[in-house]
């Protein structure tokens, strides 16, 4: 009994020793020389491998940075959306362009309250599939479907569906602005925008490019393309894309004037100081619809009784 044990221990020990020696020489022979800078640069990156930079992962970006630094002497055009590239540049002995932190914004406010459900959906909970099947519960063909493809794709746990509104909400502390959600959304509702000075940003919370009359039918807070904001903006930062206003983040100075004139409350001004008692309401903190819908803006549909009972099954 003890013999067997000893023999097996000896055999395994000798075998292990021989293999270790072989492995040592093989490792020496096939050693891959890697620039130690790559490891250092990688250490500056978040390591989430989100793919937001356009590379396969953080290491791939670090490699690209080292390569470009050696060839061209700069790291222009290579950027991790969530990190200050200055650190990487410092490792490589360079200076990087000023870092502008970004955040994803959901450009739809067609919540269960603002765009009430007309149909009931039963089927696969994939936005990309539902998008091919029907316009949406509220009837808006450009609005959020609320099935959470973006939530499933987020690598940073920064997106969640709000149970009350049925819309995805971005957690500003967790979002790094990698843009994976924006690429995932089948309707292109999510946009990655600069966080702005003092975290203040103004954006149009609607993606519907249809005519105003069609928007009003389905949603009480959708942009109708009235162009009031366009006229109000002192910096010419607002342009019309179809029947939808778009605020160019490069030109916008976050004055918040457009949000005040919007008759539909489609423009959201985030993180502005709380309004003074007599000043027009402007809510701070997270994106929340500003004015409440007027009664006449409620969706009017002759056959609501019929539609509300319909089911969409694939």
């Amino acid at each position: 009994m003890s013999n067997t044990l000893l023999i097996s221990l000896a055999v395994l020990g000798i075998l292990g020793g021989i293999l270790a020696v072989i492995l040592y020489f093989v490792a020496q022979k096939f050693k891959v020389e890697e620039n130690p800078l790559i490891d250092e640069a990688e250490a500056c990156l978040p390591g989430a491998n989100c793919g937001g930079c356009g590379f396969a992962g953080c290491r791939a970006l670090a490699e690209a940075c080292v390569k470009q630094a050696a060839e061209k002497g700069n790291i222009d055009g290579l950027a991790c959306p969530g990190t200050d590239m200055g650190k990487v540049a410092a490792v490589l002995g360079l200076t990087a362009a000023a870092f502008e932190p970004k955040i994803a914004v959901v450009r739809c406010n067609g919540s269960c309250q603002n765009s009430p459900s007309k149909v009931h959906y039963e089927g696969a909970d994939i936005c990309a599939f539902a998008n091919t099947l029907y316009a949406g519960k509220g009837g808006c063909s450009k609005g959020c479907l609320g099935l959470g493809d973006c939530v499933k794709k987020c690598n940073f746990d920064a997106l969640h569906i709000d149970e009350e509104t049925g819309l995805p909400v971005v957690d500003p502390d967790k979002c790094v602005g990698c843009g994976v959600c924006a690429k995932t959304c089948p309707r292109g509702i999510i946009e990655v925008r600069p966080r702005g000075k003092k975290d203040r940003r103004v954006y149009v919370c609607c993606s519907n490019t249809d005519k105003g009359a069609l928007v009003v039918k389905n949603c009480s807070v959708g942009c109708i393309g009235c162009q009031k904001c366009l006229k109000e903006c002192p910096f010419e930062a607002i342009e019309m894309r179809g029947n939808l206003a778009y605020i160019d983040p490069a030109k916008c100075k976050a004055c918040g004037k457009c949000a005040k004139v919007c008759p539909r409350g489609s423009i959201h001004a985030v993180n502005f100081p709380a309004p003074k008692p007599e000043a027009p309401a402007l809510q701070g903190a997270e994106p929340v619809a500003k004015p409440q819908p007027k009664p006449e803006a409620q969706p009017v549909e002759a056959k609501t009784n019929v539609e509300s009972e319909n089911t969409v099954i694939a």
Partner: protein, 451 residues
């Protein structure tokens, strides 16, 4: 009667529920305004060629086909164009459409022969027939709305041996094709002859399921009575089984040939045309009438007056529901098409189109999704799949967004018949995931081929 044939792989037996089978076709009265969508076929929507204020005649061309897979659109009524705008189709999406304010008097466009007599003399030759079919905007009216002229153009190096007329009507509830066979038998048979001449073959086979014995007997009797006129046309009874009317299934059942994966039915030497399309081809070639109307079955278990209506395109579907006795109270689901392949609608006032074969009102008991549980690996879906695929596997890999695997497992061969979902004891929406995977995989393959 010929011996009954069928396809071997898979298939299911849903309840037939052909409630409106014995109800004759009624002409549906036209409303004041009709809304004609420009995209009525698979492929690119037609390009509008009329403006606001124009007066259009019945049968006048209002939209020209754009691209190879596309079909012309004609005015279904006489009247003035009120506007060219968008209209919500059954999915709830806005699509371009022409709004026409109708006049009381129906005035046909020049060149149309207005007679109910049977015209047995085919004057056009093969090429002219296909051109006429194209000009008249005829599409596959079984629901897929694939332009028929594209189907009839046999590519070089291929030869069409058989024309197969798909009269299986395997979808439960629908009876529009059956009624057409009974009421327009001679016209239909002339249509078969025209298609045979168009594709250049002497053999025409009409495939009918055995639950339509009356139609089989009537067709056989008519062919025997006019042996010379309908030479080469035979009637093939098929077993009542879903999806017998699938293009690949009906070819397999009748000829025993299998369409190769990723190829068109012409590879097997068959051209398959639907009953309603065949009748439309007769009207187009012999009477010069473009496709502006079709038979729509409005049915459902609790519908008061189900029926088969001859409807001009552009009539809102809620008027049809109204004519069938209104929406019963226990209805939860309105379906455009049949219960197996049709799609639930988001709005009921969508305009009827070339592909609207039926409007089905489902009760809560029939339509509600039962509680979904986990896959128990019973394999029933694989047994039911008429294409020999493994739906449980496709569902799983599509859910994981693994599109290499979906392609390897031939997701593109899925005909979306829904047999898998019908049999699933765990009530998993298999077809939803497969459709999703199919769309994604198709896009990847297309992008790869373009490179």
């Amino acid at each position: 009667m010929n011996p009954i044939k069928t396809f071997k792989k898979g298939g299911v037996h849903p309840e037939e529920n052909k409630l409106s089978a014995e109800l004759p076709i009624q002409d549906f009265p036209m409303p004041k305004q009709i809304i004609v969508p420009l995209g009525q076929c698979l492929g690119a929507p037609a390009e509008c060629i009329v403006n606001k204020g124009d007066r259009v005649l019945t049968g006048q061309l209002i939209g020209t086909a754009k691209g190879f897979v596309s079909a012309n659109v004609h005015s279904p009524a006489t009247g003035t164009v009120a506007k060219v705008d968008v209209v919500m189709d059954h999915t709830g999406y806005y699509k371009p459409a022409v709004f026409i304010d109708r006049e009381e008097q129906d005035e046909w466009v020049e060149g149309v022969i207005e007679t109910d007599d049977l015209l047995t003399d085919i004057k056009l030759d093969s090429k002219q027939i296909i051109d006429k079919v194209k000009e008249c905007g005829i599409v596959g009216m079984g629901g897929a709305t694939f332009p028929t002229h594209v189907k009839m153009m046999v590519p070089e190096g291929k030869k069409a041996e058989y024309v197969i007329i798909n009269a299986a009507e395997c979808e439960p509830y629908l009876t529009c094709d059956y009624r057409l066979l009974l009421e327009k038998t001679q016209e239909f048979l002339m249509g078969v002859k025209i298609v045979m001449k168009g594709v250049g073959t002497e053999k025409g086979i009409i495939g009918i399921e055995t639950n339509k014995m009356k139609a089989i007997e009537l067709l056989e009797k008519t062919i025997n009575e006019h042996k010379e006129l309908y030479a080469g046309i035979t009637v093939q009874p098929l077993k009542t089984k879903y999806p017998q009317g699938g293009e690949k299934q009906i070819i397999k059942a009748i000829t025993g040939r299998e369409v190769p994966s990723g190829k068109l039915p012409i590879e097997t030497g068959c051209v398959v045309v639907n009953v309603a399309s065949t009748y439309a081809i007769y009207e187009a070639v012999q009477k010069n009438k473009p496709l502006i109307e079709r038979i729509v079955t409005v049915t459902g278990k609790s519908v008061k007056k189900p029926g088969n209506f001859r409807v001009r395109f552009g009539v809102p579907a809620d008027l049809l529901i109204e004519a069938a006795g209104g929406l019963p109270e226990d209805i939860t689901d309105v379906i455009n098409g049949g219960p197996m392949m049709g799609k639930s609608v988001s709005v009921t006032n969508f305009p009827t189109m070339k592909g609207t074969s039926g409007i089905l009102l489902m009760t809560l008991r029939e339509a509600q999704d039962r509680r979904q549980t986990n896959c128990i690996r019973c394999g029933r879906c694989a047994g039911a799949c008429p294409m020999g695929l493994q739906p449980f596997l496709l569902h799983k890999v599509a859910k994981q967004n693994d599109f290499d695997e979906t392609e390897k497992n031939h997701i593109m061969d899925c005909i979306e018949c829904g047999s898998c979902e019908y049999t699933c004891p765990a009530n998993i929406p298999l077809l939803d995931y497969i459709r999703y995977g199919k769309a994604k995989t198709g896009a990847i393959i297309k992008a790869r081929n373009q490179k």
